[in-house]
Structures are given as structure tokens and as C-alpha cells.
Symmetry: C2
Subunit: 223 residues, 2 copies
């Protein structure tokens, strides 16, 4: 009797993703929005923690995992952030003139009052985790890792029907002090999270006439 030859060991393989999943993932990218108009109803208990656990699956330089999440819950701290936003936004408005200033003033750029969940996301700049690997020449990749955690949470939230709005019109250092976190934590994002009033495939800034979608082909070069 001949002995059948042993098959070569296959390399480890993960779950396959099919065309149906890819089509839905594309829809998720299309329908994710930066939401500023929230319904007031609360987010189901435990869901934010589930989203935060997903966020920590993001890539990080040297496996540094430098994301630090701060759930902002007290009325005092939320009021401080709202005042920070309002002042920063008044200054931002003063950079525009004429029709553009009018349009800017008409935009709703944050949902800080309505959103049931406020989440500040920081980068721990001096973390020992990862032992500095991969970030000697481009140290900014530490903050980029936190950005990817934010975006992971954003996509997972949208898959649950939740909207996320990223507020960047803030004095970051003042926000850090308002939230009483260590000085070596830098603010990457301040997020409002809640159920959106409505869902759109087009960004609010496009619908409002502020800016239009650029042709993707124009952003690709070959070298």
C-alpha cells in the first residue's frame, strides 16, 4: 500500500469576507456622517463600552495603543467645553467676510447641547507602551494611531445606527485643562455621540453649499 503524501502545511488564514460584506462596508463608508443634529434619546447602556473596545483594535505605531478615552459626564465640564467651542467658533467666523461669513454663521457645526454622549479622545504622548518602536522619524504617528481608534469607533457606531460628530473648533489645551487630565495627554478629538435626527449619504457641508465633493481621480498620481 502506498502512503499518501502529507499535504504541505497551509499558512494560517482568517475569515474570508464576501462580495455581500464588501458591498455593505462600502455603504457604511458612504452613509457615515459627521453628525451635528441629534435626537435626545439616550444610548443603550453598555453600547459605548462595546464601541470603545472595538476602538482599541485600531492599528497603533509599535503597538503603542496610546488612546485615552474620557467620557465627559458632568454638566460643569460640558458647559466649559461648550463655551470653549462658542468662543473658538466666533473667532473662526471673523476670518470670513460677506456672503461666505453669512453662510458660515448659518452652519450648525456642533451638537454639543443635544448629544447624549460626549467623548474626548486623547493621545498619551509619553507612553512607554511599544517602547518607541516605529516613531523615531515620524513621531506624529502616535497621534495618528489615536485618529484610527476614533474612526474605528465612528464606523462601529454608525453600524449601530448611532451618529458621531467630531468637534475640532476648540482650544485643545483649554479643553485638556477643563477635563483635568495629565499634561502629556494631547486632545485629538472631541466627539458627540447619539442617534441622528436624519441620515444622509451626502455631507452636511455639501448640502449647505459650503464645499463640494472633489473628483477622486484628481488626487491620484503615478511616479
Amino acid at each position: 500500500m502506498s502512503t499518501p503524501s502529507k499535504p504541505a502545511a497551509s499558512p494560517p488564514s482568517g475569515p474570508g469576507f464576501d462580495a455581500d460584506f464588501r458591498a455593505r462596508l462600502h455603504e457604511l463608508f458612504v452613509w457615515r456622517r459627521d453628525v451635528r443634529r441629534f435626537r435626545g434619546d439616550p444610548v443603550a447602556p453598555g453600547l459605548i463600552e462595546e464601541l470603545l473596545a472595538d476602538a482599541t483594535l485600531a492599528p497603533s505605531v509599535g503597538y503603542s495603543q496610546p488612546w485615552r478615552f474620557v467620557l465627559v459626564e458632568t454638566a460643569e465640564r460640558r458647559a466649559a467645553v461648550l463655551e470653549n467651542f462658542r468662543r473658538s467658533n466666533r473667532q473662526a467666523l471673523s476670518a470670513y467676510a460677506g456672503e461666505r461669513a453669512k453662510l458660515y454663521a448659518s452652519l450648525k457645526l456642533a451638537g454639543l447641547v443635544e448629544a447624549p454622549v460626549h467623548l474626548a479622545v486623547f493621545c498619551e504622548e509619553n507612553t512607554a507602551v511599544g517602547d518607541g518602536l516605529g516613531r523615531q522619524t515620524m513621531p506624529e504617528t502616535l497621534r495618528y494611531s489615536v485618529v484610527m481608534a476614533v474612526y474605528t469607533l465612528w464606523l462601529a457606531a454608525r453600524a449601530h445606527g448611532l451618529g458621531v460628530g467630531w468637534i475640532s473648533i476648540l482650544d485643545a489645551e483649554e479643553a485638556r485643562r477643563s477635563l483635568d487630565v495629565p499634561v502629556d495627554w494631547s486632545l485629538v478629538a472631541y466627539l458627540c455621540i447619539g442617534y441622528p435626527e436624519a441620515e444622509h449619504a451626502e455631507p452636511e457641508l455639501a448640502r449647505a453649499g459650503w464645499e463640494q465633493r472633489q473628483d477622486p481621480a484628481m488626487s491620484i498620481l503615478k511616479r
Copy 2:
């Protein structure tokens, strides 16, 4: 005959995502890897363009869409980037000593030689698109927008069975010059793309014993 009362107009709603999709999305987050070990076979024609189109669905501050993608195709430019990486990596190694240096030297930190596709991703710092909205106080959000485009492409690639590796051990300004792009484009990421030799749920740096996964609960505070 009584006239039936007209129902109130419903707000626009997008596609719903179900529990099955959410479970697969979670798997995608788990099985996405930073890949450094590629098979040599080419990527199907048109697929990179499809991934790049998805990337441009990423969020961007003020709808600035500042991502610029450079497909690096010539042997000369690839060799320049490889030399840039090797020099930067030798310098990085010199920061470690003893067993840690030995472990660092044993790590495979890039797949620049094997990967069929090289993609450099830049941020156009002075773009007029978006008219500066949302980035007066935190101008770094322009680069963060590019990071989210990179991560969108990364997730879409993985859903197609493709691996992406992000090389951050580079002199960014030298890479910009090697690729002959405008001075106001800053390098955000240099990506290797191709089919992975094997698939893993655990990062290579964890499997190699460089760093371990941190407890997600430790990164959450309430304020």
C-alpha cells in the same frame, strides 16, 4: 367620508445595518493587520483604484479632502525609499541595547521588497478646498483627515483579502523629495499593499514578544 390624517414626514433614513454585518465588521477590525510579509502575486487590475475611491469617502475637516495618493512604480524611486527605510531603521536600532536591541534587529518591519504595490499618501497642507473651515484651532485635523483615508483603504483592502503595511520608519522630507511631489505636501503614510503570506488575529509585534495588548478598560476615564 373622513379624510385619513396625513402621516408626518419621516426624516431621511439610510441603509440599516444588522447584527450579522456588525459581527463581520468586528471580525474585520480583529483580523486587519499591519502586514510585512507579502506573497509576490500582483493585485488584480482596477482593485487599487476601487480602494482609492473608497478612501476618498473618509471624513475630512471642513470637507477639505486633502489626501493625495502617489502610486510608486519605478524601480529607482522604490530603491530610494528602501534605502531611506534601511538607514532610518539602522538609526532606530541604535536607540536600543542588549536583549531589546537583539529582538528589534530580528523584527521584520517592512515588506518594501516583496509588496507588489507601493502607495505614498500625502496631505496637501495649503489646500483651498473647505476654505479653512474647522481647522483654525487644530490645524493638525487636516493630516488626521488623511489618516482616516488611509485607514478606510486599509479596511477595504482587508475585506478583499489584501494586506496593508504602514511604514513609518522613514525620513518623511527625503521621501517627499524622492517622489518629486510639491513642497506643501507632507507625507502621512507610506503603504505596502499585496496579498499576505498568512493571516493573523494577533499583531506581529505581540507574536514576536515586543509588546502586549493593553486592557481596554484601563484607557477609559469618566469626568
